[in-house]
Symmetry: D3
Subunit: 270 residues, 6 copies
């Protein structure tokens, strides 16, 4: 792993732990953050040993969202022509989206472990993850409306698939802060934990369980579920049939069958 400025990355027992590491800045997402996260997830994708990812925040919070100073800088590049400024702005937003698309498109499951603040860009990030877990005292808020803008790095696109249309709208229009328990009640997080340590233990236990499964099966499952957010059931059925046409010739199926018969824990190649 390279040396990152905005992150700390560890790999142990086939689980990559990606830690946002600017605790004195409430893990605000600065320019380093947005470029390094792409490199990290390219490494995750290319490294067979990594089977699952946990993402969390160093210090007291997950993240307070996008670094305001960074935003301000884009504005300094504005010229006199409103159309050319719009063009510049559009490309910049697409670039930022690309950073979280790298998380969403990662071939391996990504689990977000949330404690403390998870605001604005923090919500954009965790909705690009596969699953979310939180401490009871976590504080989550779609903060963008308070900045005078519609959230444009993924929250408005991905959240309704997770919590339904009705509540997504209330949270997005009001920017209301919700706690971990309310987040669990509406399906935003799958489970809550008493405190940070219990959260990390709990999420790594789930991650460990996934890391023990066939990586071919887990990656295929992720691709299918991501595909279904945007495609018809008929398209999904045909896609999985085509996918599995190759994948069912996998050694992992034989390993799993043998383990099932002998009632032993299977051991899959990376």
């Amino acid at each position: 792993m390279s040396d990152y400025k905005a992150f700390r990355v560890e790999l142990k027992d086939k689980i990559a732990h990606v830690v946002i590491n600017r605790p004195d800045k409430l893990n605000a997402m600065n320019a380093d953050f947005w470029t390094e996260i792409i490199d990290i997830f390219r490494w995750v994708d290319d490294t067979d040993e990594v089977r699952v990812v946990v993402i969390s925040g160093a210090g007291k919070h997950f993240s307070s969202g996008i670094d305001v100073a960074m935003l301000a800088q884009t504005a300094t590049k504005f010229g006199p022509d409103a159309a050319r400024n719009a063009d510049l702005m559009r490309r910049r937003i697409l670039e930022l989206q690309g950073s979280f698309n790298a998380v969403d498109n990662c071939r391996k499951p990504v689990l977000a472990a949330v404690h403390g603040y998870c605001l604005g860009g923090g919500i954009d990030l965790i909705t690009a993850c596969d699953m979310r877990y939180a401490t009871v005292d976590a504080q989550l808020s779609i903060r963008e409306v308070d900045m005078g803008l519609a959230a444009d790095v993924g929250t408005l696109q991905r959240l309704p698939r997770i919590i339904g249309d009705g509540l997504a709208r209330e949270l997005a229009y009001t920017g209301r802060t919700i706690g971990g328990e309310e987040a669990r009640g509406i399906g935003l997080v799958n489970r809550t934990y008493a405190d940070y340590d219990a959260l990390i233990d709990g999420v790594f236990e789930i991650a460990g369980e996934i890391a023990g499964k066939s990586p071919v099966a887990v990656r295929g499952t992720k691709r299918m579920l991501s595909f279904m957010r945007d495609h018809s059931i008929d398209d999904g059925l045909e896609y999985v049939a085509t996918w599995n046409a190759a994948m069912l010739q996998s050694a992992d199926v034989r390993v799993a069958m043998a383990a099932f018969m002998s009632k032993q824990k299977p051991d899959f190649a990376d």
Copy 2:
């Protein structure tokens, strides 16, 4: 505001209160209702001062649904040719749908405050709103199946996005009446209140909060969330980037930033 027969409309503190006003008829939706609601929401869209809408029912109920007498009248126009009757009926249904599309397409958030009966067309209407709130003793039912027909003014189209596929089917096939608390448990309404007065107070508080936000940001957020009911995540990301290319040059962003820095409440132009 014009003078309406089926509604009473008030505008105060940037919130339009649209009241279905036929209390002695259980707020049944008659011909006036279906045409006036289009005019009202055109006015809402065109009036910068209106930032958010609350819709509720006068008297003891939200609405008992479509006026049966009105339906019967369409049938009187039937001639001897089944195909030409079908053509007539199809255009009539599209017309009725247009009335609630006016609510759905409204550029500003619409909050439904439900008490008492909310039956048949009542469900069609509230599923075209952004969010729903109810008293604990509200009674909600997809009544159309009991009229011998599939609901055709929006419920079957919009409800599954809000409460998921499994429960939507049970409620639609059986026409079972549910109370406010069950409606909240399944995500049909966001919150319940003890009685009518608490409901109105509560919903206006949420509406007031939204009215205090940047109207540019709130309208953009609504357009994005409505867009996501029908489009892929990739399409949504590109759309918000294009939208915000213009909208981030808004004065509201500067107002919001300044307020954030000075920790004061921002004051946005209409």
Copy 3:
């Protein structure tokens, strides 16, 4: 009704009861199962007297999923060319999917009553049904990941529409077994019952209620709801308008209206 090997089928009071009937094999889905289910649902579709279907398992369990011996047999047909094997496998998976598509495409509502094990293929089956009900001690699990493969007979395609994206992923990646009560909490089943007898009584009561409604209205409602899993709201509105253009000329509307006026129970033709 023909004589089935893997099922027992009964028709009473307009409700078809389809019972998976291999109790000594934990109702594992063997070759007979996959072909007979198509015949059964063709019969359901073609028999006007059947208005609703209940599917359950004989003995102590709903179903332990696909018969492993059957899977193994497909592999025996493999030749030396990986591409031709893939082609064979792809067609085989599409064939298996076809069996549960027959359930999904059935014109009449299908209610799953789940007790005991509902594993792997069992989940594929119940997600192809309209609604799901379970005993509190039911045990449900997306088991495929433990066989080294991505589930390919419908679970990954249909489940996220029912329980949302976040929990669907956790269950699919980990294969975790959940009980009836947790299944209800996340919306996978609509209601739980204390034991098998209460389950069957409860589900038949709901089925009976549906059987008493206009079959024209119920079938139209089902078609619309199934359509909405894959289409835009605008497409859905136009479709229902076109559908109802013919269906509103139904005798059932007149029967329902008359019953409504006279406050009597309507009696609809098959």
Copy 4:
């Protein structure tokens, strides 16, 4: 028919002739044009006697496109906030699109007869028609690129469905003017005629042929073909089955059958 300022409208032999009638202004599309065209096509839709529409230009040209003075006026409404200006502009464009959507959505076939200039908005208009016919000396050009903007009233959306992707791009990027014969060669117009009189005679002959067919059949055919520009073949097949479920009970089928048997010309009701 009302009295129009920008049009002259005639109805004869079930054919409505809609003539753009500002010959001294090269039939430039002014404010009257954009609102009146909506009224005209609402009248077409609601008038059973009208079975087909021919649209042409008075004087020497079909149309030189949008009136530049009208465009300039929108700009005068701009305020100091770029975002609010963008909002104003977006709504204005959607409004203009609505005028040609009225042509596209018209339930009856619309035939464009093009002679002389057909520039900018002229192309937007004829691509919203069902079919196009031209004189050999017609001059057609996607002129918007020369105004410094991307065509936004329908050309870029509808043209590629008609002439394919490769040529559409050349014409749109260069604004090159093509003659009637080249337009026919690439499929933009279906047929060319020597001069204006031959054009009008020819187009009315085709229109007359369509007017003699069953209006139920023609309208159904148009709806299906318009639907197919945007939907999958499977969706189209199901839609036409649902549509014809009602329409095949038409008296017109019986009339057509009888005429076919007796080898006489059928006479269909409006």
Copy 5:
């Protein structure tokens, strides 16, 4: 091959020749036709030796379209309820569509060789084929409009993908008969031939060329092209990558490479 009443089927040199064989009835499509065609194409799909299909008509014509007597029979099943009649009709149309979907979904290329009449259902059939070839004196017509109905067995759905939107509309509204040469000019047929013998020779030459290619490659190519009629370019790219992931491990690639290197004709397994 079984014995068919409406067809004659031959297999030679890996080409199946499917001949509509009711010459004394102008090859009108009767009840036998609609069921047998499904059996024939199931046999085509399941028979490895068949690599390509040619479909033509016995006698003087390709086909005069659907047998009118058969249509009339459906009407005799009508009861007193318009809605139940519509339901019956809808299912019947879906059934007829299924017969030509069997052609469209066939995994192997299907070439239509058209001479003489190709009317109504004949056009529905040839648009479900991969490619079309005709004699110069062929007579093609979308005849349904003259029966008082919108074509509902596939023409309106598939034709615009082949000849573009503008001409498809003219032919569908007017039912105009076109000759082989005009059909070629608009892209409906790929090539014309002087007479029936030249047609059959020419089409079998093309069929033979395809039969000599890798069947794995040809089937994959067909699946991709059919997929692209309804899906986005991005979806298509991902689909072909997933498909070829398995198929590129084919022995045929090695055979083709070896033949290419040695400049010999490759010989592929079925």
Copy 6:
């Protein structure tokens, strides 16, 4: 411009000329080609001075397609597990597709000038361009079927949008070579030229015309046309309205208007 191994790139008069530069290898696409083309088009996108791109081949041919040696190398990475090989192959194909997606997604028009061979990957490349032009003696062929595989770098996805479904299938199944004139007749190329020099002169004249237009208008037009390959007309209309909301505030509109009024040639900023 950097120094490329497989290309020569020149920029003159706002036109970038991208020349495939391996004439002694018939411009076969080797590993350098596939990576450098991404860099080149990133440079094109980021360089305001470049307004349009012409791509052609050095020496006697455009390109003979993918370098067979490169393909062979991927196979050497295969291991013993068919599923892991499939995964490797799938990612490799997606990577290759990415190279031509860079051409397709380029914000500026790309014109292909084709002479001599344009085989296999050559067709994949030119279908990713905006427009195609050729010499009369060019030789174009979808060669992949002769390699035993379905074309997977874009031809099967993009070609049917350009030449229609019927001919695309014949060319893809047979791999038949067509000349420049036949390519023009079916719409694959927009125009033909007598020889290489006339081709280059002609294409640069068209490119020069585009380079003289407003870059804001041209880029917007390209985005809209690319969008329309995959989206509905309604989606396209809303998208262009949102896009132009910002872009119509462009200085280029004012420049164009002024030039139009003064009948002078406009001069747009990059």
